[in-house]
Amino acid sequence: MTSLAMQRRRATAGRVWKQFRSSRSGMIGLGVLLLFVLMALAAPLLADARELNPVYARAQGNPQWAPPSEFGPLGTDYIRRSAWAQFVWGSRISLFVGLAATVLTILIGSVIGIIAGFVGGKPDAVLMRITEWFLVVPFLPLAIVLASVLGRNVWNIIFVIGITSWPSTARLIRAQVLTVKQRLFVDRARSLGASGRHIVGQHILPNVMGLILANATLAVPISILTETTLAFLGLGDPSAASWGKTLEEAFVNGAMVRNAWWYFVPAGLGILAVVLAFTLIGRTLEEIANPRLSRAR
């Protein structure tokens, strides 16, 4: 059984890629994203990690607040660190936290949404009350409290973002599962002797997959922005350079007043570009996931 399933999956992947290639916005998004992913992966080749250390920077004799014309590709900050090194190494943390937090969000949201929607009854009521509780708790204060209580490291930041942003995903997916569950092909599957697990895997999941993907695309930028926000508020991992942390330090140390644009503009543009790239990719994937949409295109 597995060999044909794998073969079919490979054929599906090929078809998806063929459709994806024909979408211009999707390809632009993918190109931009690949550029940043490559940059994050090749960070050690592009910039010396020691440049992030103020002691090393001072020992090297770097100038302070140097514009790009005086130092490196992007100048230096208030403690003589290379702005380029911060931009390159910061992309790693921002991308990683954004993706990992999204995976967590979508995983929790989908599991709860599908169980609540498919099983119904009491489990549904209990799960939805929990979801509503998380939904009404103000997001930012909860994230701030959790981040400061758990401690400031990358994994905790991921956990905080994941645990605070799943409720809307869960509600959305539950609603979709409820409508899919009513369709005749689910009854048909039951009449041919399918188990609940089979029905969820073969019929419910593929029909809500488009929505899950679309939601994931929305969740990645939100996760990246949340990481930025937490870092900007001083709750990021102090030992890891991220774009949000760069923005925070630039703001706190008066880069705006000094007109030191080389310090904060790259990080800001980086966030903008990555968020946009994910949105473009997500919309294209959504079109492909829904055969009707892709035919109408």
């Binding site: 059984m1 597995t2 060999s3 044909l4 399933a5 073969q7 079919r8 369709r183 005749l184 092909f185 009854d187 048909r188 599957a189 039951r190 009449s191 041919l192 002797g193 399918a194 188990s195 089979h198 073969q202 019929h203 593929p206 029909n207 997959m209 996931a289 829904n290 055969p291 009707r292 035919r295």
Partner: protein
């Protein structure tokens, strides 16, 4: 013939809704021999589809079902959940009404035809399943290439053929066709009926055919049962029942079809006034008497039971 393929005794189905209890099927009994075909006719809401769904226990949770259903020697109402799942589709398969909605829009039809084989693990390998899908598609008159199509790429008739192919995937003994030709145009209807008839002959299937279209039933089935308000009111060989109905309700149904070439029947369509009674508020006595042209005092005291009205025939009417 030792044991019938399907034996139903005193089947009662009651829905418990917000507005109280709704008895949709009220004491239905019949036997269906192996290789035989039974047509079930009646107006909307008379319990046809409820009866069909009850045969494989597909009714919503909380529905009260009593009586006895023996399908292929198995007591359907007392099966364990696992035994029930195993019996579904291998003992009895259903062709649903509404071919579009019974197919998953995001799976190719080939995958869906293979689904029963996957669930029941009847195919030895994936290539065997694939071969079987192609064979089934060919049998129902579709090209093998259609296996890779999505449901919305097929026409209504093609989708109905896909559902028939799916129903045959596990070689069921009993095929329940719940209005398989509704929403199809007349030519396609005829093609689907011919296909079902050929398949039945070829595989010695037992066929149960549900529709409100009497002419379809007389064409497709050997025997005919007419339902009214949750009960069978007349039963017998299809042509015999259609041509000389004993129950006034069957007579009205049969008279609703104009005879081609007979000007008089065209000019004077004889229908049946009024609506069928709602199952939660049945009239006293014979439930048909308010609409019956022959109603008289004897209809009021009690609901008549089915009784023999000739060779292989029975009807539930005081006049029989």
């Amino acid at each position: 013939m030792s044991e019938p393929m399907l034996s139903v005794r005193d089947l009662e189905v009651t829905y418990h809704g917000h507005g109280g209890h709704v008895p949709a099927v009220r004491g239905v009994s019949f036997d269906l021999e192996k290789g035989d075909s039974l047509g079930l006719a009646g107006e909307s809401g008379c319990g046809k589809s409820t009866l069909a769904n009850a045969l494989l226990r597909l009714l919503p949770a909380g529905t009260e079902v009593s009586g006895q259903i023996i399908l292929d020697g198995k007591d359907v109402l007392n099966l364990t959940p696992g035994g029930l799942r195993a019996a579904r589709w291998t003992s009895g398969a259903i062709i649903f009404q509404g071919a579009l909605h019974a197919l998953n829009p995001v799976q190719t039809v080939g995958e869906q035809i293979a689904e029963p084989m996957l669930v029941h693990q009847t195919a030895a390998s994936d290539s065997a399943a694939r071969e079987r899908v192609v064979e089934l598609l060919r049998r129902v008159g579709l090209p093998a290439a259609r296996a890779d199509s999505y449901p919305h790429q097929l026409s209504g008739g093609q989708r109905q053929r896909v559902l028939i192919a799916m129903a045959l995937a596990c070689d069921p003994l009993l095929l329940i066709a719940d209005e398989p030709t509704t929403a199809l145009d007349l030519m396609v209807q005829a093609q689907v009926l011919d296909l079902l008839h050929d398949l039945k002959e070829e595989r010695d299937l037992t066929l149960m055919f549900i529709t409100h279209d009497l002419s379809v039933l007389t064409y497709a089935c050997r025997r005919l049962a007419v339902m009214y308000a949750g009960r069978i009111v007349e039963e017998g060989p299809a042509w015999d029942v259609f041509e000389n109905a004993s129950h006034p309700y069957t007579r009205a149904l049969a008279a609703a079809f104009p005879t081609i070439g007979d000007e008089a029947s065209r000019m004077a369509p004889s229908g049946l006034g009024g609506d069928p009674p709602t199952p939660d508020n049945l009239p006293q006595g014979c439930p048909f008497h308010p609409r019956c042209p022959l109603a008289h005092d004897a209809c009021l005291p009690a609901e008549p039971d089915l009784r023999s009205s000739g060779l292989e025939r029975s009807a539930a009417c005081v006049l029989v």
